[in-house]
Symmetry: C2
Subunit: 205 residues, 2 copies
DNA sequence: GTCTATATTTGGATAGAC
DNA sequence: GTCTATCCAAATATAGAC
């Protein structure tokens, strides 16, 4: 019992550190979120923090692991099924993207990515491969199928995917920027849907 | 003569500080570019730096003034003239955007903007108004004229402008990310033109 | 595991001689 | 205008008592 309670307390503190570090890193960046601030918010001394993590960077790496851990959950069969129906494929993909945009944790991770993007080469490379390439791959598969089935006009599926994802990203960035200052995102709340409609009307046959 | 030489030297040092500060701020951000580093690169002591600027923030503000100082040079009459011809309007706008993307100083300013975007509310507000709204205004005017003249399909000009600018921004971000690591932008070098072609084909009548 | 105390480094800034 | 010397604050990190 005592052993269990101790373990729980230990685990709890570590989790609390991670939770608070996530918030602070995503608001202030790596440099801005000092060990002092993190420890103070957790309610312990800085030295106590080093019982749970080797150093500041280790905390950051554990937090930053989450940045690219929200892959789109669209299986090959789902892609196929939805793409054959045309617009629903774009709607499904976009709604997942919109969900991430407004999800608290994903929002934090996206902000952290934007803050550190120009500070870390590794992050830049992951941004290109995990963030961009993966989305383009899924989307272009869908577009390819739609073209094959005469649902949309013929074009380079990769280019079309690029065009589609770029607007999603831009909306997400704007939403994140506005929400950072607790400003209303009303004007943007339906932008995702408008994008799908516009894109569909522009390219359907 | 002596007076003149002294003046020149003084002005030169101040300009040199600004030049080096620009580079360092746009690579390391405000926090990362320490007064120490700036002075060292300039080749003077930190204390000497304070003969030219009140403090670090003053240096930064003078550097950061440039971030939004590259407005598009499209007059009302130019917009009108080009928009009546359709695609050339988009080509002209995009080429100006592409120029900024690859211009060394504009690139630095864009990187600085991205680094500090999540750190400064003022920058976020200027990003929305100066960076986004202004471009949307110019573009939507053009689209409106094109619709009136039956060159493109009918739609909300503001939405269409949003769709168009979002891809330009995304390309610019990717180019900037790649160039930061001195990576090849070959794959992206014609993306601006491809975007114009794709967009035009999607919406022309 | 947490605390107090302390070491060490880095960064912004000023005083005063030249 | 620049230099040396110096100050002060903040930040990362460790040692050792409880």
């Amino acid at each position: 019992m005592t052993e269990n309670r101790d373990k729980n307390k230990g685990a709890k503190t570590k989790q609390k550190i991670l939770k608070i570090a996530t918030t602070l890193f995503s608001q202030l960046g790596y440099r801005g979120a000092s060990v002092r601030k993190i420890a103070a918010e957790v309610g312990i001394r800085e030295s106590a923090l080093y019982n749970h993590f080797k150093n500041k960077e280790e905390i950051f790496l554990e937090v930053a692991r989450d940045i690219f851990s929200s892959p789109f959950s669209l299986s090959e069969s789902e892609i196929k099924e939805l793409a054959l129906r045309g617009k629903p494929f774009l709607q499904k993909f976009t709604m997942q993207y919109k969900m991430l945009t407004f999800d608290k944790n994903s929002e934090n991770m996206f902000r952290l990515l934007m803050i550190e993007l120009m500070q870390s080469q590794e992050l830049r490379e992951q941004f290109m491969s995990e963030f961009h390439d993966k989305s383009v791959k899924v989307l272009s598969e869908g577009f390819f199928l739609m073209m094959q089935n005469g649902l949309i006009r013929s074009a380079d599926p990769m280019l079309m995917a690029y065009e589609f994802i770029s607007t999603l990203f831009y909306i997400r960035l704007q939403v994140t920027v506005l929400r950072f200052d607790s400003k209303s995102t009303n004007a943007l709340s339906t932008q995702f849907e408008k994008h799908v409609d516009f894109f569909w009307e522009s390219n359907r046959i």
